[in-house]
Symmetry: C2
Subunit: 217 residues, 2 copies
């Protein structure tokens, strides 16, 4: 599906993929600090502690770095989501796990949250070209779990499973955005706890809404 | 609250505020087409049919144009929302009206949807500095209606009214984003109808979820 190269990573190794990962992590920090457009490739190199030219061994240009962050992180998320979506567990439990997993990706990572919720949208071209296929795959996965719940009579059928999936994502994105951009006066642990609590409430509201039609309609 | 100048508009007149509005409308089109960063002030001038220098009679720079679009449009929305929030109507009816109003702002305006959902996020600095106060005002308005419903026993109390307000916004933003970026194969009328239908389903899911705790908890 994805024509973008994504080399295998060996976290315990010290090979070239370690350096690639180090560059991506540095880029997440500088993009979050200065924004995508204001950041130069040399800023990423400096933060990663590598020569400017080294960046170009792994990435074509700055756009490629941003796309790689997105594809790597979202790619990993989709992998785990696919496993959860296919589990032999009640559908509402699976929806809860899906919400937890997505927040797990962001916990303690305000910079990553800011890059994903804000910076990626900096280019609608990038978003349309590279984001769309992964995003569609992500939404279809969630929609498939909801549709299964509809078929088994747990969830209402008068709401499209795709609309519900987009709303679930939108709600999470809204919480993550206000969390990423919110005041930095609290420490990371209490901020993480607040995000977790908000997401839990959102999950229960969403699930009761999804069950709603079966009671009222 | 807002230190940004916003001259009164006289839609029927042919004065300077007409020209300002024409520049804003042109900017919405070119930002949506080419993205905020790739757009030059001269592109906006060309689209508006005015001289480059004219832009600077109304706006300080390109950032100021984007901020003005946001402040004008969202400012108008908040005005109407405030009226609806204070109405003597059942809270769930008011929540439905709030959802309708927001989509009314976007209907037939894919370009505006793209500017608001994508382009505004292009600068986290702009978003933090100018977006945050208006956004907070907007969220507090919605949260106040939800809190009223909680006090009167219509809505569950185990979900924070602010979390619910952010989720409501997030879900709408998610629908608007996928709508704005989605394929352009359908005509505007059927696209608008699809958005309206999706928003209606989202509203009913959200309202049943908000009522949920009163039945189950």
């Amino acid at each position: 599906m994805n024509t973008h190269s994504s080399k295998p990573k060996h976290k315990s190794g010290r090979g070239s993929s370690d350096k690639r990962e180090r560059i991506l992590e540095a880029a997440i920090r500088v993009f979050a600090q200065g924004g995508f457009y204001a950041t130069r490739v040399s800023d990423i190199a400096k933060e990663a502690g590598v020569a400017d030219g080294t960046i170009y061994l792994y990435f074509e240009n700055k756009d490629d770095v941003l796309i790689s962050i997105f594809q790597d992180r979202i790619g990993k998320l989709i992998e785990v989501l696919r496993e959860v979506a296919g589990r032999d567990e009640p559908v509402d439990e699976r929806v809860r796990r899906i919400i937890e997993l997505q927040l797990g990706l962001l916990e303690g990572r305000r910079d990553l949250a800011e890059v994903i919720t804000v910076n990626l949208r900096q280019s609608s071209k990038l978003l349309k070209q590279y984001g769309a296929p992964l995003f569609t795959e992500y939404l279809e996965l969630i929609a498939s779990v909801i549709a299964e719940g509809q078929r088994s009579g747990v969830f209402r059928e008068d709401v499209s499973s795709r609309v519900a999936a987009r709303a679930l994502w939108g709600g999470l994105d809204g919480l993550a955005l206000t969390w990423a951009l919110g005041g930095g006066d609290k420490d990371d642990a209490s901020r993480d706890a607040a995000l977790k609590k908000a997401a839990h409430q959102w999950g229960e509201l969403f699930l009761d809404g999804l069950r709603g039609g079966t009671h009222h309609a």
